[in-house]
Homo-oligomer: 328 residues x 2
């Protein structure tokens, strides 16, 4: 497999991205990696293993840059990485850069899977019962009910192929568990998802997110973003509070030292870097979206996700699942 890594994308780019790529090159010695970046970044890398090659990009898409610029930035690292896959010089893209730009590049170059109105971004959401699929987490701030039905179909394939769950439990994120709870969008989507062959278990609410009594949870990109970031924010705020509180006196300091291994375990449980990244859903190619704050570990794991998607023929399965559901 040949994985194109955009080394310019992410808060810690290019250093951590390069580091993660180097780790992945060692881990996947039989696969090829291509680093795409600007000249100074490429020059700083030093000695390369045999399975890494370099490609220069003259430009870069900034994190907060308007996505409409992508069409004028065909020399940007994310555009080139995506183009290499389209033209058969690579098999998958990995990036921690602007998600909107990554999605635009993939949609414009790979095209959409037939039957998918708008691609979505899924993520592996850490819960008390392991990682679950949450989508959409930000690609589509405004959704139609039919889009949520498509997200459910795509999340189902994701959970089957990448998490190995035979019949994933599909839930709808709402403001109450009863079927009559919701806004106009979720009430209509509920009806549509109920008519599919999916293992639909109805509504789940914000407080169910971390309990993990589901395998896939579907929502519009605005709500998904709120849910994901509220959870992230809660975790870091609680750690801040606890740290402040634990250093107030000597006995607490001793106690804190004794429970440090427990904290580390906890941190690992909710660490998105363990999951690396998630494929863009609904495009005809593999493009792995990483968290903007990704460090080397996340990039290394994202390469693993890319290879997993390719080995499992993820895009073909997605295409077939969407077509099959349409025929019913």
């Amino acid at each position: 497999m040949r994985v194109a890594i955009d080394i310019m994308g992410g808060d810690k780019a290019p250093k951590e991205i390069v580091l993660g790529g180097l780790q992945a090159a060692k881990r996947f010695a039989g696969d090829q990696l291509i680093f795409i970046g600007q000249k100074p970044a490429l020059a700083a890398i030093g000695q390369l293993p045999d399975n890494i090659s370099l490609v220069e990009a003259k430009d870069v898409m900034a994190m907060d840059e308007s996505v409409t610029n992508i069409m004028r930035k065909k020399e940007s690292s994310i555009w080139i990485a995506t183009k290499m896959v389209k033209e058969g010089q690579a098999d998958a893209v990995v990036s921690a850069g602007s998600t909107a730009a990554q999605m635009a590049a993939a949609t414009l170059q790979f095209g959409r899977i037939k039957g998918i109105s708008r691609p979505a971004i899924g993520t592996i959401f850490p819960t008390l019962q392991g990682g679950k699929v949450l989508l959409d987490i930000g690609a589509n701030a405004d959704c139609e009910p039919e889009m949520l039905r498509q997200f459910a179909l795509m999340g189902n394939v994701y959970a089957q192929l990448l998490l190995g769950i035979a019949s994933p439990r599909i839930a709808l994120l709402s403001n109450g568990t009863e079927s009559h709870k919701g806004n106009k969008l979720t009430l209509a989507a509920y009806q549509l998802i109920e008519q599919t062959n999916l293992n639909f278990i109805g509504n789940k609410e914000g407080r169910d997110l971390l309990s993990g009594e589901y395998d896939v949870i579907v929502c519009d990109g605005f709500s998904g973003n709120i849910a994901l970031k509220s959870t992230e924010g809660c975790f870091s705020a609680l750690m801040t509070m606890l740290k402040g509180s634990l250093t107030k006196n000597v006995s607490r300091k001793i106690g804190a030292a004794l429970i440090m291994p427990a904290f580390k375990e906890l941190k690992q449980m909710v660490d998105y870097e363990e999951y690396g990244g998630a494929p863009l859903l609904g495009v005809r190619g593999v493009s792995i979206v990483c968290h903007g704050a990704s460090s080397a570990k996340a990039i290394n794991n994202a390469v693993a996700v890319a290879i997993d998607c390719l080995k499992n023929d993820f895009v073909s399965h997605l295409t077939t699942a969407v077509a099959d559901e349409k025929e019913q």
Copy 2:
């Protein structure tokens, strides 16, 4: 002041509600409380202090009951409590029952404040920098941009009068901090709120919720519900994980015992029961909404909020603020 308490509403009703009312009667010895409930619940109370009186309700609105039933349940405890305020036999309502029913009873009997399209439910959201106002948290699953502008106006008065903040920082909950981030609703609401005289500080995202770098945060009721419950769920999931992790071996158990006071402090910081309840915003009367899981402590504190609202002439200030903003 005379506060009417619906002792039938809430997961722990009537026992904890009655207990909280009894505590409040002692705390506010110069004020009057009226317990409204069904005969068996009233009969079980036992000896009453002088400043509590009882009123029988033949019916009750169940937690999951359709709100449209309220018109056929004029003997329900929440309807009677609200009616007593409307007819001058009480000054404020406190309930931990169905929020939808409480809101319907208040809207139908008190009426809306002029210039308010739909009443909202605010809550005091615990943050690293103390309690902040979050609204709407579930009254209006689908909102128009103008409603979010009204929520901002009401949240502003709330923070001024009940939190004592002279010029509250008003934020809009969105999927990114930049002004171009949002869904159709928040993008339009951003423009409207920017045109008011409020101290508008722009968008905040999910991960900013607990940092508390704002005083009031405004959103539609669906998103507010997701944000609030995701945070609640995160907190309890982390506590579950930590507890499991802390009892794994002896040194961790000793450590856990030493840091227990720190955990208790933390629990208190994020304990909604400290805040008791929040007034329904936009109706011409005081009706305090409590969490469904409220125990005695929350009810006791909710009575304090009711008295605070009455002493500060909350409804009049809200009415004036909305009218003033309209004239500009």
